[in-house]
Subunit: 212 residues, 4 copies
Amino acid sequence: MVTAHEQKRTERADLRDALVAAADRLMRERGARGLTTREIAREAGCSDGALYVHFQDKAHLLAAVCERWIPDLAAAVGSLIERVGVATVQENLEAIAAVALRTYGEMVSSTFAIGGDPELLTYHQAALKAAERGPRRGIESIAAYLAAEQRLGRVRTDADAVMAANLVLGSCWQRAAMRYYFGEDILPIDDATYASGLAAAVTRGLEPGGRA
Amino acid sequence: MVTAHEQKRTERADLRDALVAAADRLMRERGARGLTTREIAREAGCSDGALYVHFQDKAHLLAAVCERWIPDLAAAVGSLIERVGVATVQENLEAIAAVALRTYGEMVSSTFAIGGDPELLTYHQAALKAAERGPRRGIESIAAYLAAEQRLGRVRTDADAVMAANLVLGSCWQRAAMRYYFGEDILPIDDATYASGLAAAVTRGLEPGGRA
Amino acid sequence: MVTAHEQKRTERADLRDALVAAADRLMRERGARGLTTREIAREAGCSDGALYVHFQDKAHLLAAVCERWIPDLAAAVGSLIERVGVATVQENLEAIAAVALRTYGEMVSSTFAIGGDPELLTYHQAALKAAERGPRRGIESIAAYLAAEQRLGRVRTDADAVMAANLVLGSCWQRAAMRYYFGEDILPIDDATYASGLAAAVTRGLEPGGRA
Amino acid sequence: MVTAHEQKRTERADLRDALVAAADRLMRERGARGLTTREIAREAGCSDGALYVHFQDKAHLLAAVCERWIPDLAAAVGSLIERVGVATVQENLEAIAAVALRTYGEMVSSTFAIGGDPELLTYHQAALKAAERGPRRGIESIAAYLAAEQRLGRVRTDADAVMAANLVLGSCWQRAAMRYYFGEDILPIDDATYASGLAAAVTRGLEPGGRA
DNA sequence: GATGAATGAGACTTCATTCAT
DNA sequence: AATGAATGAAGTCTCATTCAT
């Protein structure tokens, strides 16, 4: 038999997670500035003091929030590598861009929230380093894919695979960031069209005399 | 002859500017979070109350800081348009990328400081809108340049000038942002090499069979 | 056994009351103007912030002070009604006047403190209305007493009981108010003599040909 | 010829009066609490500093405001003394009450504003003492009138003229004060009816067996 | 483990007053 | 005489953190 008290106990057992989730939610909604421990506690449905049972201080809670979406970062592009030789390179880059736009769109407000708070940023950088994560992984995955295509002859041999990968993810990240920052898109087209145009531009380049 | 008093007067006459400059300096150094009116006043060399002679409140001062570098934004790329037909397209894009990297590098911490504070961000967006500035101008300038080159036959006719411009500036902005955000470069090469590689990638594209 | 700690706890449990009492005390002594939250906190023996655990802001604390002495107002005269038919009417009015002078004397500085602060006054008026208190109750009590005496034939039938009650309380309130306001009495006699003279004047009237 | 500059000069010559008038106006409207020198200066149409050309400090300006309506106080009842033997005593008291209600109604908010600020109150009390004004004069005037009527046989010989005068003015002042304080009248009748009822009550008294 | 009243440093802001012009 | 930018002390209120229960 589970009494009300036990049930409450059971629920509270993952209060740590509830706090991280609550902080994450609030940070996405309103940014880190002005986010109070009391608000987080209310959102998590616990008392002010409970936070300090699970975290040394507020900064450690926020650091835990940061670490939370590190996995999303790499997973977003990691799964798209098995496409070597499949469809066209341009189509594959377009698919990657579409995924990147979606993923970055979810992360961007937190990114600003962290980047805007030097103390938080330091925590976050340390956490990323410890986890050996970061954006390099995403670029490396795409570059590896392009290198493989290069070996198949589907990408010109003198192409800079890393820079091309950088162009794709960089543009997507910038679009997400600018959408947040300016409150509107710099290029007022939908994300699918953007992904398609981006892939085409990266693939074709500017030089005349290409296959067109 | 300028007496000490007159000099002081002169300085104080633009206390408003001194406050904006002080806030800007501190914001670059430490972010907007935890930036106090007292600190700004000390940095500007005035009393706590003086701030409120020139600004309604702290937020209005920070908004003034934001507006401060709006002109830099457009000027950075605007001056590079007279290069149509000169040197090579790739060299011109490389030059643009170099300037953009430098400019964005100076703005990036403020960008995060603003983006991390929803209230500030709202002010800034309104200011940008009122000033009819924003990143679109930069992209449009470059796109206009590329279109001109297209007419000269130096850029393939089916190229998407706007997207190419977006690729160049987007990658530069992302590099500056990520450098700030992760504390290190994603691509560990110097900015000149980056600008050069970026221009080459955008120019050449990935398709095999190009002129190489 | 009560340890020092337990005692402290007990005290702090009614910190709310302590704050109201402290504010009341200080308001009587020095008026509401220049009354600081810090001073109130010190007087109540707690920290600055504790005030905001119990009250939304300073105004809500002061409103609580106002509500505190609402009960005193009515109680002062309410208990004197069972005198119908006892002693003389004049003696009973004299007793009422004596009580009123004492009670009003205690309230008067707070009355000015509240009346002098439009914001506070609004709070107070709302509180009085919600409590259905106010001076009318006092006057009605006395008027009811006089009406009863009228039915006993101890007060002339054409007398305006309400106005007579108003004269008694009004004069007492005015004496208390003016004593506070001018720093000295308008009629330089002691309160007992005043109460007696007041009762006599109200009872006898000015018309010649009365029983004298 | 009067240049614009001279004209301005001329206007500013009675800036002192303008300041007093402005402070008076604002004090009536909003009370003394929260009344700033800047606001007064704006209302008077001058700079912040100009106030200190004419007054030692803010308190001296407010004291000047207080002294402003001292003359009104005495004049209100002083002119009613020549009525001895004219009309009926009750009618004359009624007329006095009507005037007192009107005058007190104009003064009451300032009275609370001053009484609510201990510092201001001290100034005001000193000013009243220096001017040998105050409410005693009003009461004495009425008492003198009643004593004269007493000698004419129109007022009973054992009446307490001073107390009767006190009853009249006290009730009127209390009515004005309570109207301000509670935001509504204790006796919900119009002022003319109140004055009439008051005069009747004071004249007739409560004792049965009067002339009725 | 959880609570939440209490803490107190420090934030933003106001405002009477000064002083060079 | 008048100005108004500047001052800085003092006010109200916030909020991360503690601790007895």
